[in-house]
Amino acid sequence: MVENIFVGFAEWLRSLLAAAGLPALFGDIVLMIVKVAGILAFIAISVLWIVYMERKMAAYFQARIGPNRVGPRGLLQTAADMGKLISKEIIIPRAADKIVFLLMPVLIFVPSLLLFAVVPFGKNMIAVDLNVGVFYFFAVASVSTIIFWAGGWASANKYALIGAMRAVAQMISYEVPMVLAILGVIMIVGSMKMSDIINAQQNVWFIFTQPVAFIIYVIAATAETNRTPFDLLEGESEIIAGPFIEYGGMGFAMWFLAEYANLILVSVLATTLFLGGWLAPFGLTFIPSWVWFLLKIYFMIWVFMWFRWTYPRIRVDQLMNFGWKVLVPLSLANIFVTGIGMFIYRAIGW
């Protein structure tokens, strides 16, 4: 019953539209718009909650209380912040490239929402089950590198330019090990479809068969989402928020929203590829699949937050050396070992 609440709603809506005598294509389009609206609501609520969670967790890590004034236990703090940001004046610096400067906060959110199209929220709860799911994920995710750079460049601020350059260097460097690490999973599954990858984990989650890939993925994902210890492009104490430095009000809010949406997305991919997606562990199937999925992504988000408040920021040379001289060879070795391992596995014939 609870398991199929969303799937049932979609079926009900489709049959309603079909009963009204509308063509199937129209029904599909309406259904897809409803899905987009639902996902947007999910992102907005999740981001408001995750920002609150991050601030509260930071406070507890540092033996503070954290936000506790607006609403019960400070729960409405981020909603109030959002209202404040909307009502702030949008200032476009005199020196800035005005069109690009205003366009980039709009565009930065586009890859994030496009990626949510292939997120398997639960059993049969995937908006568009592309046959190139994982590949699509990386292809679209890498677009945000250009948007980061363009935003920083258009600000015509020296800190912003340094931050933008660092963003490009860091995001492209860590994309290589990330993409190569996932290859091991694809080799085992033999498909890039999100639903196939989850179904292949019925017996054993890939975190147990591909532990090295999981570790590489988590490190690279931390760098891709620009979170501490890899937050060099923001580095509040040296370059004052990097590419976002000149953005205020709603422009800043969009960058922030996209950043936290990306945090959800990397957690989603970690869950889908390594933690069994919406599959219930230990046969606890009475809990709906989408609840399991949310629990797992919130666990991953919690891990990323734990990293943030545990490790200090690393230097640029350490960042690049670690990416190219440790993670890339390690991920290539992982492909090799996975291939050999699969041949041995088949030869033994388990």
Partner: protein, 118 residues
């Protein structure tokens, strides 16, 4: 039937409408008290000196070049990984040789100091 591309297009339009809607809403409600000082480039107080859009260090470009090689490699690796179980040992050895050529390239870049942050 709505094709996959069409569904992705609806997502694209949805994202643009949402993000642009946020900015436009802000434009409708935000106060307008602009002064010349507000429009200055922010640099912790002092005036910014010299042009901002200058030539940047070449190091970033070298990393971008190596990235390009590996990113193109990925395009070949993913289809191979999907068909890995069906293709058998021959394709595996072939791909190992392909990766080795790239590893030699990485090793050369490493040796020549392209990966050294100066």
């Amino acid at each position: 039937m709505l094709s996959d591309g069409g569904a992705i297009f609806i997502f694209l339009v949805g994202a643009l409408v949402f993000a642009a809607g946020g900015i436009i809403t802000s434009f409708l409600v935000h106060p307008r008290r602009s002064t010349q000082v507000k429009l200055d480039t922010y640099e912790c107080g002092p005036r910014t000196i010299g042009p901002t859009w200058v030539q940047f260090r070449v190091q970033y470009f070298l990393y971008a070049l190596i990235f390009l090689i590996f990113d193109v490699e990925t395009i070949y690796l993913y289809p191979w990984a999907v068909k890995f179980q069906a293709l058998g040992l021959f394709a595996f050895v072939e791909m190992i040789i392909f990766i080795l050529i790239l590893v030699v390239g990485l090793w050369y870049a490493w040796k020549e100091g392209a990966l050294r942050w100066m």
